[in-house]
């Protein structure tokens, strides 16, 4: 074994035993590159996640909802800032991340490749998409890379109000007019597949490099099960129908079974072939072009 191999093995043993890594520490190249890619995707997702929701600030039907939605989206931008700072400290400038995002080279989560059509979507996203996200994010609190684990603490704390806001929006509608109830039901029908895709295809933990390096501490299927366990009862108790006739819980094992999602479709979506992928990336690219001059003037060392 070469010295590097020995060192890498020691590092692997260290993180698997719960060891924490700081920015200046030695890291195997594979760990560093996987780490940057993972964290960058998270930052991209927070940033792209703003786009489906921002149109609804104007259309919010009360002042309180307008404020809450603006604050939620602001939090997401704030999270992008925290996350990209971590990536910057690992050596990749923010501008390079944005370059890769708009060129399609870097990815972002599936759910942000879909259009939003009604106020029902606003509620479903804030409640259920954020709920799915917070499950993953809580698992990241134990990330071996300490600067990322630390910002996850702030992110989880802030996300908790998003879910409450989302649930409140949904509750107002499901107790409102039949048309309002229908808005929620219809949105749920469209969002169920992206939600089932959200945590990724079921790679066993011992085959998932993210888990092996302790970047993630939870396998994809485990996260999905946690989501179903927590939220299917909450959805059903409102009288809403979930569009999967095979969705059921085995009360002995506690395991949820469901119609196997189309994983090829997930791959297609995250590689830029989702219903709104190109439109969103174009928007992000153009917006950036319009304000590029500001960074030149104000942040001479351009981040």
């Amino acid at each position: 074994m070469t010295t590097t191999d020995v060192r890498t093995q020691e590092f692997l043993d260290y993180v698997q035993a719960g060891g924490q890594v700081e920015t200046g520490d030695w890291m195997p190249d594979e760990y560093r590159s996987k780490l940057v890619k993972f964290i960058e995707m998270h930052g991209n997702s927070e940033l792209m996640g703003v786009l489906p929701e921002r149109d609804w600030i104007l259309r919010a039907p009360t002042l309180q909802r307008k404020l809450a939605l603006t604050a939620k989206i602001q939090d997401e931008v704030g999270h992008a800032q925290l996350i990209y700072r971590v990536v910057e400290d690992l050596g990749k400038p923010r501008s390079a991340c944005l370059d890769d995002l708009v060129s399609g080279k870097a990815k972002f989560h599936n759910v942000f490749h879909y259009p939003t059509k009604t106020w029902g979507d606003v509620g479903v996203i804030a409640w259920l998409v954020d709920a799915a996200a917070i499950i993953s994010q809580k698992a990241l609190l134990k990330c071996s890379y300490a600067p990322y684990a630390r910002i996850m603490k702030k992110i989880c704390w802030e996300e908790s109000f998003h879910i409450l806001h989302g649930r409140d929006v949904i509750l107002a509608m499901v107790t409102g007019t039949p048309d309002q109830f229908e808005l929620v039901q219809e949105a749920l029908l469209r969002w169920w597949e992206p939600l089932m895709h959200f945590h990724g295809n079921p790679i066993p933990a011992d085959e998932d490099p993210m888990v092996i390096w302790r970047i993630k501490s939870q396998a994809n299927e485990e996260a999905r099960q946690q989501f179903l366990e927590g939220y299917v009862p909450q959805i059903r108790e409102l009288g809403l129908e979930i569009p999967d006739p095979n969705l059921r819980r085995d009360d002995e094992t506690g395991v949820w079974s469901y119609t196997e999602p189309d994983w090829e479709k997930l791959r297609a979506v995250v590689t830029g072939h989702g219903p709104a992928s190109q439109e969103r990336l174009d928007f992000r690219r153009l917006s950036r072009e319009h304000v590029e001059w500001v960074s030149q003037v104000v942040l001479a060392e351009a981040a």
Binding site: G78, R85, L299, E301, A303
Partner: protein, 94 residues
């Protein structure tokens, strides 16, 4: 010149200022605006310190080649001697 400003945050009066993150800003006045927002828009901080990244100097690696434990609590084991002293004084309790 740095554009990165480290933010230290005091959660409540009496508590230490702990590192909370960093903001990118053209100068200290912009950094204050941005730090207030990122670390205080929910009134979640009592106070902040802003420090240009250049002013932060990392110090690490603290060797103890000759195991000078006498300066620490774990450098002392008084159990055996204490037992002996109590036996001698007849104050040893079962």
């Amino acid at each position: 010149m740095t554009l990165v400003w480290e933010v230290f945050r005091q959660e409540r009066k009496g508590q230490p200022f702990a590192h909370a993150g960093a903001v990118v800003a053209p100068d200290l006045r912009f950094a204050e605006v941005y730090a207030r927002e990122q670390y205080g828009r929910r009134q979640e901080s009592e106070a902040l310190w802003l420090v240009p990244r250049d002013a932060v100097h990392l110090v690490h690696d603290f060797p103890d080649e000759f195991d000078l434990k006498y300066r620490r609590v774990d450098g002392y084991s008084i159990k055996a001697r204490l037992k002996e002293a109590r036996e001698r004084a007849g104050t040893l309790q079962g």
